[in-house]
């Protein structure tokens, strides 16, 4: 940087103060979009995974499709959706749900398939019906894999939201892009750090939630 130019620091509290409104708007959009996408994806993933398990012939295509869709770049997916769903929140949300869905279906299915057959046998011997078996035996046993899937889906969703810039709804990505356009380092750095922090906070919250849901896992480690 030559001497005549104004300072352009990477971090600046003045920037944060002057753009407080924009930053909080972007952050809250980013957060709500992530939560909405992961919850929607979970609501869709459970029935799909159960269906794939009940009909093993469907499991191959379901997992194969998930692999194929994963090779479609997010920018391309948003571009393919945008002409039909318009510019804005809906397009980004659909794209995010699609990607999160793939991770979740895979992990729920793998988790359910990984339950010890002896445990299932014992539960059946105790007279558990299919519903009670699912809720009281299979899901708790599959929980570690499911939680791992939810963590992976959530963290990659936080990162993916930024690509929503192409349709004008990228949360913190919007600020990154604006900072890039105007060559404003503090804006790029602040929004990047916030994005990383958001992913970290979500991940941490999910780890704690997982611990609360699986007290037996903790006890096993302690023993």
């Amino acid at each position: 940087m030559s001497a005549g130019q104004p300072p352009n620091p990477w971090l600046s509290w003045t920037y944060v103060e002057h753009n407080w409104g924009d930053i909080t708007t972007a952050l809250s959009r980013h957060t709500t979009l992530t939560i909405q996408a992961v919850l929607l994806a979970m609501a869709l993933a459970f029935p799909l995974a159960l269906l794939a398990r009940a009909r093993p012939r469907l499991a191959g295509p379901v997992l194969g499709l998930s692999g194929a869709l994963y090779t479609v770049p997010s920018l391309a997916l948003f571009a393919i959706l945008a002409p039909f769903t318009g510019i804005g929140r809906t397009t980004v949300l659909i794209g995010l749900v699609a990607y999160a869905l793939l991770v979740l279906v895979r992990n729920i299915l793998v988790g359910l398939q990984g339950v010890d057959p002896d445990v299932l046998d014992a539960a059946r011997g105790l007279g558990y019906g299919p519903t009670r078996m699912l809720l009281a035996v299979e899901l708790p046993n599959a929980l570690p894999t499911i939680v791992a899937g939810v963590r992976l889906a959530t963290v990659s969703t936080v990162a993916l939201v930024t690509v929503g810039v192409v349709v004008g709804y990228g949360g913190l990505g919007q600020l990154m892009f604006r900072g890039f356009r105007s060559g404003y380092r503090a804006e790029v750095m602040t929004s990047s750090l916030l994005c990383l922090a958001l992913a970290l906070v979500f991940d941490l919250a999910l780890v704690l939630l997982g611990r609360a849901l699986m007290p037996w896992a903790r006890r096993r480690v302690a023993a």
């Binding site: 692999g67 194929a68 994963y70 090779t71 479609v72 770049p73 997010s74 920018l75 391309a76 997916l77 948003f78 571009a79 393919i80 945008a82 002409p83 039909f84 318009g86 510019i87 990607y99 991770v103 895979r106 992976l152 963290v155 990659s156 936080v158 990162a159 993916l160 939201v161 930024t162 690509v163 810039v165 192409v166 349709v167 990228g170 990505g173 990154m176 892009f177 900072g179 890039f180 060559g183 404003y184 380092r185 790029v188 750095m189 929004s191 990047s192 994005c195 990383l196 992913a199 970290l200 991940d203």
Partner: protein, 240 residues
């Protein structure tokens, strides 16, 4: 924009059928070559760093936490953040910055798979090799690397597909490649072109994945595919 769907599809088909869009310095042909060139550069750069490191860590059989940490951070870091950070720094923007950013995201899958592949080599085999008097270098090149190769190759394949899917974001920071078609279409509100660009990028990514998967299947010796289950690459992630 509702109800305009069919019009956009016919616009996209018309755009793809216009020979002028395929030739010339900004045609589909030139952009695809540029896209693939950038991807090859990024994979080579990433592999040049990740392969030696993975082999070294795997040979010493330690450093698992480093690889896990790297892949976790790279999952949380949006590519757009890295690209815009580069653009605001001395690295600048354009194709070179995009190649560096894509290379950084190519490191974790290659590193993780190289490390895992090396760790999975049967301890008895290593013991036998040591008993036959193989030194550390010959052990690495004659025993460990050949046995770990399928898993390492799977990592490179995951990285390559991921890079091809990341490069389209270059268009957002004044770079080249097929993403340019999407970006120009969005800027000029020609949604037929946006759709055509999206389909082209998706087709390219899936072709690269298909070609690499086929090559891997052809090249892997039969005895190495029998009775082994850990051929799966680490889960690929959508380009962020």
């Amino acid at each position: 924009m509702s109800g305009a769907g069919s019009g956009i599809i016919s616009d996209a088909i018309a755009w793809l059928n216009d020979p002028l869009n395929w030739t010339g310095p900004h045609g589909i042909g030139a952009l695809t070559v540029e896209h693939l060139g950038m991807s090859v550069g990024a994979v080579l750069l990433g592999a040049g760093f990740a392969l030696p490191l993975g082999l070294w860590l795997g040979h010493r059989r330690r450093g698992g936490q480093v690889t896990v940490l790297l892949s976790n951070v790279s999952r949380a870091m949006p590519t757009l953040a890295l690209l815009t950070l580069f653009a605001s720094s001395a690295i600048g923007f354009g194709n070179r910055a995009v190649v560096i950013a894509a290379a950084i995201f190519a490191v974790p899958p290659i590193l993780t798979n190289t490390f895992t592949g090396m760790l999975e080599v049967d301890a008895d085999v290593l013991d036998a090799a040591r008993g036959m008097g193989l030194g550390p270098w010959r052990m690495l090149w004659r025993v460990e690397v050949p046995l770990a190769l399928p898993v390492i190759a799977a990592g490179v394949r995951t990285a390559a597909v991921q890079v091809v899917a990341t490069v389209p974001l270059a268009a957002l920071v004044a770079g080249g490649g097929l993403g340019v078609i999407i970006n120009t279409g969005l800027a000029t509100q020609r949604y037929g072109q946006v759709l055509a660009g999206g389909v082209l990028v998706a087709v390219l990514s899936m072709s690269v994945e298909g070609i690499l998967a086929g090559t891997q299947r052809l090249v892997t010796p039969r005895f190495m595919t029998a009775g082994r289950t850990s051929r799966q690459p680490v889960a690929a992630l959508p380009a962020t």
